[in-house]
Amino acid sequence: MNKIIQFKNIVKSFDDQVILKGITLDIYENEFVTLLGPSGCGKTTLLRILGGFLEADSGEVIFDNENIADLPPYKRELNTVFQKYALFPHMNVFDNIAFGLKIKKMSDDVIRQKVTRMLKLVNLEGYEDRKIDQLSGGQQQRIAIARALVNEPKVLLLDEPLGALDLKLRKEMQLELKKIQQEVGITFIYVTHDQEEALTMSDKIVVMREGEIEQVGTPVDIYNEPVNEYVANFIGESNVIDGVMKEDYLVSFDDKDYTCVDHGFKENEEVDIVIRPEDIEIVGRGRGVLNGKVKSMLFKGVHNEIIVETARGSHVEVTMTIYNKEPIFNEDAGEYISANNFYVDVQDFDELTDDDIIARADAQAWDAETEEYVGFSNVTYEELVGEDTYPVTFSTSKGTSITIQMIGVKQRYIQDEKKRIGIAAFDFFKTLDEIEESQALDTDLKTWADAVSWDLDTDEAIEVRNVDYDFEIEDLKPGKYKVSFSTVGREFKIHTTKSSEVDKNVGLSFGPEDIHVMEKMGF
C-alpha cells in the first residue's frame, strides 16, 4: 500500500496553548483511519490542518508526495464532511451536491448523471428538489457525504459527522459509512470521540491525547493490547490495576502472583494491569483465582454488569449512641432547653470557643409560648486537660439550664501504610428522632461522625465510599451501635450474561491470557 498522507512533526498552538505537539503520522491509500480522543485532544485541529482551514506552526503535510502546506483548501484533492454538515441552506439537495462540479464547470448532463449516482450511493434517490431544512438529520448527513464524494476526492475527511444523530441512526450510519468507503475505495479520515464508533468502522485507529498520539493500530490491537492505562480506559471498559511485574510471565497485585503471557519488562517493574470485564467469570467461592463479595449488579440488556469487591478499602469503626431526649422545661421562666453529649478531639481543646461548644452540643433554648429561640447567657465547664469527661452547663438569663457531657478523646484514626491512606471518624450521640428524620442516612452518618479519608503522601482528600452498619432503622432503640466507614477497595467490573446477588460471596476466574500488562504511563 502507498502512503497517501504523511504528517511530519506538526505543531500548532492557539494563544500560547499548544494544541498539537509534533504529530507524525502516515496514512495509506484506501484506509479507514479514525482519529480518536476526547475533546481538546487536537484531533479536529489535525483534520483542519489537513483540510487547509488552518495553517500548522511548523511541520509538513505531504499529500501524494507533495507538500501541500501552502495550498488553499480549494486546491486540495480532498473533501470534508463537516461536523454540522454545513449544507448550503439556500440551495436544494441537487444544487448542494452539484456545487463542486459546477465550480469545475462540468457540463449539465454530466453533473446530473454524477449527482444521481451519488444520491443512489447514499440511498436518497429522488430527493434532488428537496430543500435542506426539509431533511432529517440522517438525510442531511448523507447529502453532506454525497456532496463531498461527488468530487471524487482521493481522501475524505469526516469531522465527527455522526455527533448530532440519535443512537439508532448513528449505528445505522456507521455501517453505511463503512459500506460507502469500501464501495468507493478511497481513504476516509474520520474524527470522533466515540470509541465504539472507532472500533466498528476503522481499519486503523489513532488514539490521541493532549496533542500527542498515544497509540496507532487496528481496532483489535488497540482493544486487546492497549499500550497504557489511558488507551485501555478510553477504548472499552476495563479493570486497570496497579501491579508489579515480578519476572517474565509472572505479575503480582494485591499480594498475589498470577501467571500471564506478557514478558520483556524489568524485574519488579511497576506496571498497569488490564483485565477486560468480559474476560472475568463469576464462579463459586474458592473456585476461581480470587474471592470477593458482590457489591452491585446492573442490568445492561445483553449482559449484566456486576461489581465484585475482592479486597476491602481502608476502614474505621465508630460507636453511635442513640438515646431518647426530651427538652427540659423550666416552668418559672417558661422556657425549654435541650442539648446533646458530644465527643471532641483533645487536640482541638485549645481552640474550643463557647460558640463551638453550643454548636457541637446542638444546644437550644426557646420560649414555651412564642417558640422563639433564647440566647445562652452562660456556658460553664472545668479546665480541659487530656482525655476525660467534662460536664458542660448551658444557662439562659432567666436561669433555665442544662448540663451535658463533653467527652475529650483522641480521634480514632487509622493509617493504612500499605495503601498509603489515612481514615478517621468520631463516635457520636444522636436521638432516635434525628435518625428517623434523616433523608439520606449514609451521608448524614458520614457528616455526624465527621468521617474523612486522605492520601498519606499528598494529603489529598479521598472519598469515603462505604458506610456499613448492621441495624435496621425500624428496629432502632436507644443503645450503642457500630458504624464503619471505608474507602473503595479492590473492585472488579465484570460483564456476564449470568446473574448474581448483592452481598453474595463469589469467586472470580480469569486465565493468564486475559491479563494484559502495560507500562506505567509517564506524566
Binding site: 483540510g51 487547509g52 488553499p72 483548501p73 480549494y74 463537516f82 454540522k84 454545513a86 456545487f99 456532496r147
Partner: protein
C-alpha cells in the same frame, strides 16, 4: 405558563387604539372631503382622482421614488463592502467599528443634516478647500446630489448594521465547505456569502427605502425647495390644512411602499426556492 396569556390583553387594546385606529382614520379622511370633521362622513374618490389626474403630483411621486431608489442602491453599494470588511475583523475591532457607525445616530438627525449645508455650500468647507488648490467652485448645495447625499448619510448606518448582522450570523463552516469543494474566494462570495446575506440586504433596503421616500426635511434643508411626497403631505397637513387630500396622498404612498416591499420580499423568497 398560560398565566401569562392575559398579559397580552391590555396591549391588544393599546395597539388597537394607537396603531390601528389612526390608520383607519387616514383611510377615512382619504375617502372623504369637506371640513376636518369625521362626523360629516361622505364617501368620495375625488381626492384620488385629483392626485392621479395631475401630472405634477405624479411627477412628484416618481421623483420621490427615483431618489429613494438611488439612495437605496448607493447604500447597498457602499454599505455591503463596509459590512463585509467589518464582519471579517477580529472581535474587538469589529465591535469598535459597529460602535463608530452607531454613534452618529445619537446626534440629532436635523443637526447632522444641517451641518452638510455648511460643508456643501458654494462658500462652504469643500469649496474652500478646492479653491485653495485653485479648483472649483463646485455647485453642490440645493441639487439632487445634495439630497441623495443627505439621505445616504442618514440612512447608510441602517443598511450596514443589517447586512453586518446577517453576515456575522452566518456559519463559518459554510464558507469552509465551499472552499473545500473547490470554490475560490470569489466563487464562494458569489455563490454562498452573498446569497446568504440577502435577508440582511432586504431588511436594509426596507430600513433605507422607507424613510427615504417619506423624508421631508432632508430635501428641505439640502434641496433648495425640491418637492417630494413627504413635502406634499406636510404641505397639505401643516400649511393648506386639507387633511383629506393629505391623507389620500399618504395612503397612496403607503400602499405603493407596501406593495414594493411585498414584491421585494417575495422575490427574495422565490429566488431562495429555485
Amino acid at each position: 405558563m398560560n398565566n401569562y396569556r392575559r398579559l397580552i390583553q391590555p396591549y391588544v387594546l393599546w395597539i388597537s387604539i394607537f396603531l390601528v385606529l389612526p390608520m383607519i382614520l387616514i383611510v377615512l379622511y382619504a375617502f372623504t372631503t369637506g371640513g376636518n370633521d369625521v362626523l360629516t362622513f361622505h364617501f368620495t374618490l375625488d381626492n384620488f382622482a385629483r392626485f392621479f389626474n395631475d401630472n405634477v403630483f405624479i411627477g412628484v411621486l416618481i421623483d420621490s421614488f427615483r431618489i429613494a431608489l438611488i439612495t437605496t442602491i448607493l447604500c447597498i453599494i457602499i454599505g455591503y463592502p463596509a459590512a463585509y470588511f467589518i464582519s471579517k475583523m477580529q472581535v474587538k475591532s469589529n465591535a469598535f467599528f459597529i460602535l463608530l457607525i452607531t454613534l452618529p445616530m445619537w446626534i440629532n438627525m436635523l443637526v447632522r443634516t444641517y451641518a452638510w449645508v455648511g460643508i456643501l455650500s458654494d462658500n462652504g468647507v469643500i469649496n474652500n478647500i478646492l479653491s485653495f488648490f485653485g479648483l472649483g467652485p463646485l455647485h453642490m448645495i440645493h441639487t439632487e446630489f445634495a439630497i441623495v447625499l443627505g439621505m445616504v448619510y442618514n440612512f447608510l448606518p441602517f443598511m450596514i448594521l443589517q447586512i453586518h448582522a446577517s453576515l456575522s450570523k452566518m456559519d463559518p463552516s459554510l464558507v469552509e465547505a465551499s472552499s473545500d469543494l473547490g470554490a475560490s474566494k470569489f466563487e464562494t462570495f458569489k455563490r454562498i456569502i452573498f446569497p446568504l446575506s440577502l435577508p440582511g440586504v432586504i431588511s436594509g433596503i426596507t430600513l433605507v427605502f422607507l424613510p427615504a421616500t417619506s423624508s421631508f426635511f432632508i430635501q428641505r434643508l439640502l434641496g433648495g425647495g425640491t418637492i417630494l411626497v413627504g413635502n406634499l403631505i406636510e404641505n397639505y397637513f401643516v400649511t393648506t390644512g386639507d387633511w383629506n387630500f393629505g391623507s389620500a396622498i399618504s395612503l397612496i404612498m403607503a400602499v405603493i411602499i407596501m406593495l414594493s416591499m411585498y414584491f421585494t420580499n417575495k422575490l427574495d423568497k422565490e429566488r431562495g426556492e429555485d
